[in-house]
C-alpha cells in the first residue's frame, strides 16, 4: 500500500513529507489512495544497515534463527543485515550462501545478505570459492572469517587481490593469534593482571590492522576492518586514510560505551571479542566515528544460548546482543552526533561498503527502506523484552536515549508503533 508519511524531521533536519508508491519506492509526489502516517516529532532516517550480524542459522537455531534475528533487526530499525559466515556449516560455498539468502527473503523483514568465508571452513589456509559466491544469486560481496583472523599474510594478500575482480571486500577480524590466542578474553592491562584472566592486548589487533592496510596499499585492494576496538588501531586507520589507502572500518555499539572494569564481577555477559577496552580507547573510538576515521557502526550481534554463557568466564562463549539496541546506544554514546551523521554511519556508509545500492538513502526512485525514531524517548532496557531467542544482553537495566517507532522495509511496515506486526 502506498504511504504518505507526514511531519517527520528528515535526517533530523527540515520537516518534509515522504511518499511511497504501491511498488514500495520513494516517489516525488503524493500517491493516490495512500495511507497517511502521522510521524510528527519523529526523525526519519534511511533504513539501517548492519555490516556484522551473527544469525546462528544454520547450526545453532536454539540461539537465533534467520527469522528471529530478522525480527530483532527490524525492531532495531534495520532493513539490511550482513549475516556472518561462521555458522555450522560455514558459509563458504555458493550453495550455503544461497540458503541463507533465501531464508532471509522468506522471513521477509530485512534483506539478509550473506557474508562469505574468506577461507574454507574458516581454517585460514585455502581460499573459499569466493568467485562462485559472488556470481551466485546471493551476489556475495563481503568476505570474512570473522571469529577468526585471516592471520597468514600470504592468504590475506591473495584474498585481497582476488576479490578485486568482482568488487568484493575482505572484512578482517584483526587478532594476531600468537599475541591473543583462543583463551584471551580480557583486555590486557591492570584489570586482567588483577583478575588473573588471560590478556587480549590491543597490540594483537593493531599489528594486523597495520599489516592489512599495507597489504591493501601493496595490492591496490580494498580492506575493511571489523570491530575496531583500540586507540592504536584508530591511529593506524587515520594514517592509512591520509595516504589514500582504500580502507574502511567499523566499531560496535558496545565498544562505544562499555569498559573493561565491567569484567570485575566475572559476568560472562560482558565477555566479547575483541574485549571491552579501557575508557581511553572508548573515547578514541567515539572521536574516530564522529570524524569519519571509522566509517560505520556494526552491531556484531552475537546471540548465545543461556547455557553457553553459564560457564566459568574463560569457558563461556564470546559475544553480546546488539541489533535491537544499536541505534539507542549510538545516540547515548554520542548525543551530539547529528542525525545526518547517524544516518551516514549506520546506513549510508555500511550500504556503500557492502555494495547494497538499494539501501542507505531516502532518494526518490530507491526502495522505501526507512526508520522513524523518537529522538526524545528514554528507555530502560529489559532483556526479557527482546525478540531475539537469546538473552545475553549487556544493556539490561541501562537507560538509553531514543527509540525506534516504525521500520519500513520496501514500503511495508516491519515494525509499527514499536511492535512487530
Amino acid at each position: 500500500m502506498a504511504l504518505i508519511i507526514t511531519g517527520a524531521s528528515v535526517l533530523g533536519e527540515k520537516t518534509q513529507d515522504l511518499y511511497v508508491d504501491d511498488a514500495g519506492r520513494f516517489v516525488a509526489e503524493a500517491p493516490t489512495g495512500a495511507e497517511t502516517v502521522d510521524a510528527s516529532g519523529l526523525v526519519a532516517l534511511p533504513g539501517l544497515v548492519d555490516l556484522h550480524t551473527h544469525l546462528r542459522e544454520p547450526g545453532r537455531e536454539d540461539a537465533e534463527t534467520i527469522l528471529t534475528g530478522s525480527r530483532a533487526a527490524a525492531m532495531g530499525g534495520f532493513t539490511a543485515v550482513l549475516a556472518m559466515a561462521n555458522t555450522s556449516p560455514v558459509t563458504d560455498t555458493a550453495e550455503a550462501a544461497l540458503r541463507v539468502f533465501d531464508l532471509g527473503r522468506e522471513a521477509g523483514l530485512v534483506d539478509v545478505q550473506p557474508v562469505g568465508a574468506v577461507t574454507k571452513g574458516l581454517a585460514g589456509e585455502e581460499l573459499a570459492e569466493l568467485g562462485l559466491m559472488a556470481r551466485s544469486r546471493a551476489r556475495v560481496r563481503v568476505f570474512s572469517d570473522d571469529g577468526k583472523c585471516v592471520h597468514d599474510a600470504r592468504v590475506m594478500r591473495r584474498a585481497l587481490e582476488y576479490v578485486k575482480a568482482f568488487g568484493g571486500v575482505v572484512s578482517q577480524h584483526a587478532q594476531d593469534p600468537t599475541l591473543a590466542g583462543p583463551a584471551a578474553c580480557c583486555h590486557e592491562g591492570e584489570i586482567s593482571g588483577r583478575l588473573g584472566l588471560p590478556g587480549w592486548p590491543g597490540i594483537a589487533e593493531e599489528v594486523i590492522v597495520a599489516r592489512d592496510v599495507m597489504l591493501a596499499r601493496h595490492t591496490g585492494s580494498r580492506v575493511h576492518v571489523a570491530h575496531v576496538s583500540t586507540a592504536g588501531s584508530v591511529e593506524v586507520l587515520r594514517w592509512a586514510k591520509a595516504q589514500g589507502i582504500d580502507v574502511t572500518a567499523e566499531v560496535t555499539p558496545h565498544h562505544l560505551i562499555l569498559t573493561t572494569d565491567l569484567l570485575e564481577g566475572y559476568d560472562p555477559t560482558y565477555k566479547v571479542n575483541p574485549p571491552l577496552r579501557p575508557a581511553e580507547d572508548v573515547e578514541a573510538l567515539r572521536v574516530a566515528l564522529a570524524d569519519g576515521t571509522i566509517d560505520a557502526v556494526a552491531t556484531d550481534h552475537a546471540p548465545h544460548a543461556r547455557h553457553d554463557k553459564e560457564h566459568a568466564f574463560v569457558d563461556a562463549a564470546f559475544g553480546m546482543l546488539g541489533l535491537e539496541t544499536a541505534l539507542a546506544v549510538v545516540r547515548t554514546a554520542l548525543p551530539d552526533l547529528a542525525w545526518a551523521d547517524v544516518a551516514r554511519v549506520m546506513s549510508t556508509n555500511p550500504a556503500r561498503i557492502a555494495g547494497l545500492s538499494d539501501h542507505g538513502s531516502l532518494d526518490v526512485g530507491t526502495p522505501a527502506h526507512l526508520v522513524l525514531v523518537d529522538p526524545a524517548a528514554s528507555v530502560v532496557v529489559d532483556r526479557a523484552d527482546s525478540v531475539s531467542l537469546s538473552r545475553n544482553n549487556p544493556w539490561h537495566g541501562r537507560s538509553l536515549t531514543s527509540r525506534v517507532v516504525h521500520t519500513v522495509y520496501g514500503g511495508r511496515f516491519t515494525v509499527r508503533d514499536g511492535l512487530l506486526p
Binding site: E190, I191, S192, G193, D308, E310, H311, F313, D315
Partner: protein
C-alpha cells in the same frame, strides 16, 4: 562474610580472629582424639575441577576433625567439554543439600560465579590464576607465628607471578596485615599492569632477587611450571634457576632466621634448592600443618556460626 572467595572478603580483624581460632585448632591436632563436634550434621562438599592432593586432603581432614560429613567430588575437565554448564553442575550437587561448597576450578572467577548461583557457603580453594585465599591465610598465619607479627616486616614473593593465585591472595593478605611486600620475577612473568597495580596496592616489584633477599624478613618461593618454557616466558630451567632460584649460594644472602615458604609442590633444583627447602629456617612442613588449622578455623567461622 558469607563466603570466602577472595582475601578482599576479610578484614584484618577477621583475619586475626581466624588466626586465634586456628591456634586453638592447632592444639586439637596434638590430641589423641582429634575431633570436635562443631560441624556435626553439616555437609561439606569438596568440589575439585582440577587435580589437587594437598589442598583437597587438607580441607577433607579439616572438615572431618570438625565432625562435618565431607564428600569429595572430582569433576576434572571443564564442564563445557561435557556439554553441561558450570551452573548446572553446581546446582545439581547443591540440590543434594549442601552446607559448604569448597571449590577448586582452573578458571579465574569460578568461585565467585558459583557463589551467585547457590545457597551454600562457598569457599574458594583456588580459582585459576586469580586467588587461593586459604593458602594466603595459612602463609600469613605461619609467618605471624614465626615472626611474632607481620606489621612492618618485609616479605619477598619470588617466582611466576603471572600465573599464580597464591601470589595474588598473598599480596592482598600480607599488605592487609601491615607487611611490606616485594615481588620478584623476570619481566615476562610479571602480570600485565603490575606497575599501576603495585603503586595503588602498596607493594614493590623487582627483577633482581639478589638485591631483595638480604633485606627480607621472610621469603616465599612460588612454583614455576616447566610448561611455561614452551610459552616462551623464559629460555630454560637452568637459566631460570641462575636468575631467580633460591640456590644454596643465595641462602647465605638471607637472614638466618628468615622463614622460607613454598606453597608446594616444590620443583627442587628449579625454583628452590634442596638445601633451602630443608634448611632449619624452612617453614614448608609447618605450612602444611598450619594449613589444616587455618582451614578448620575458616570452616568453623563460615559454617558453625551460621545458626547463631
Amino acid at each position: 562474610m558469607k563466603h570466602l572467595l577472595s582475601i578482599n572478603d576479610v578484614s584484618p580483624a577477621q583475619i586475626q580472629e581466624i588466626f586465634e581460632t586456628a591456634a586453638d585448632m592447632h592444639d586439637v591436632q596434638k590430641r589423641e582424639v582429634k575431633k570436635l563436634p562443631a560441624l556435626r550434621g553439616r555437609t561439606v562438599i569438596n568440589m575439585f575441577f582440577e587435580d589437587s592432593t594437598r589442598t583437597r586432603s587438607s580441607f577433607e581432614i579439616a572438615g572431618k576433625w570438625l565432625s562435618a560429613d565431607v564428600i569429595n567430588i572430582s569433576a576434572k575437565g571443564s564442564s563445557a567439554s561435557k556439554g553441561e554448564s558450570l551452573r548446572d553442575t553446581v546446582l545439581t550437587v547443591c540440590a543434594m543439600g549442601v552446607d559448604g561448597l569448597v571449590i577448586r576450578h582452573p578458571a579465574s572467577g569460578a568461585a565467585q560465579q558459583v557463589s551467585e548461583w547457590v545457597d551454600a557457603v562457598v569457599i574458594n580453594a583456588g580459582d585459576g590464576m586469580h586467588e587461593h585465599p586459604t593458602q594466603a591465610l595459612l602463609d600469613a598465619y605461619t609467618l605471624q607465628r614465626r615472626l611474632g607479627t607481620l606489621e612492618g616486616k618485609h616479605v619477598a614473593i619470588i617466582g611466576d607471578l603471572t600465573h599464580s593465585r597464591v601470589f595474588r591472595s598473598n599480596v592482598l593478605c600480607l599488605t592487609k596485615l601491615g607487611a611490606h611486600v616485594t615481588v620478584v620475577a623476570p619481566p615476562t612473568l610479571m602480570p600485565s599492569g603490575i606497575g599501576p597495580w603495585s603503586k595503588e596496592a602498596g607493594f614493590a616489584t623487582s627483577y633482581d632477587i639478589d638485591d631483595v633477599l638480604p633485606d627480607a624478613d621472610a621469603v616465599m618461593m612460588l612454583r614455576v611450571q616447566k610448561e611455561r618454557m614452551s610459552g616462551g616466558y623464559f629460555p630454560s630451567a637452568r637459566e631460570y634457576t641462575v636468575g631467580y632460584g633460591l640456590t644454596r649460594d643465595r641462602l647465605r644472602l638471607l637472614k638466618p632466621d628468615a622463614p622460607i615458604c613454598h606453597p608446594g609442590p616444590m620443583n627442587r633444583g628449579l625454583e628452590i634448592a634442596a638445601d633451602a627447602a630443608d634448611a632449619a629456617q624452612s617453614a614448608v612442613l609447618e605450612q602444611v600443618s598450619s594449613g589444616l588449622a587455618v582451614r578448620m578455623a575458616v570452616l568453623y567461622h563460615l559454617l558453625a556460626g551460621e545458626e547463631s
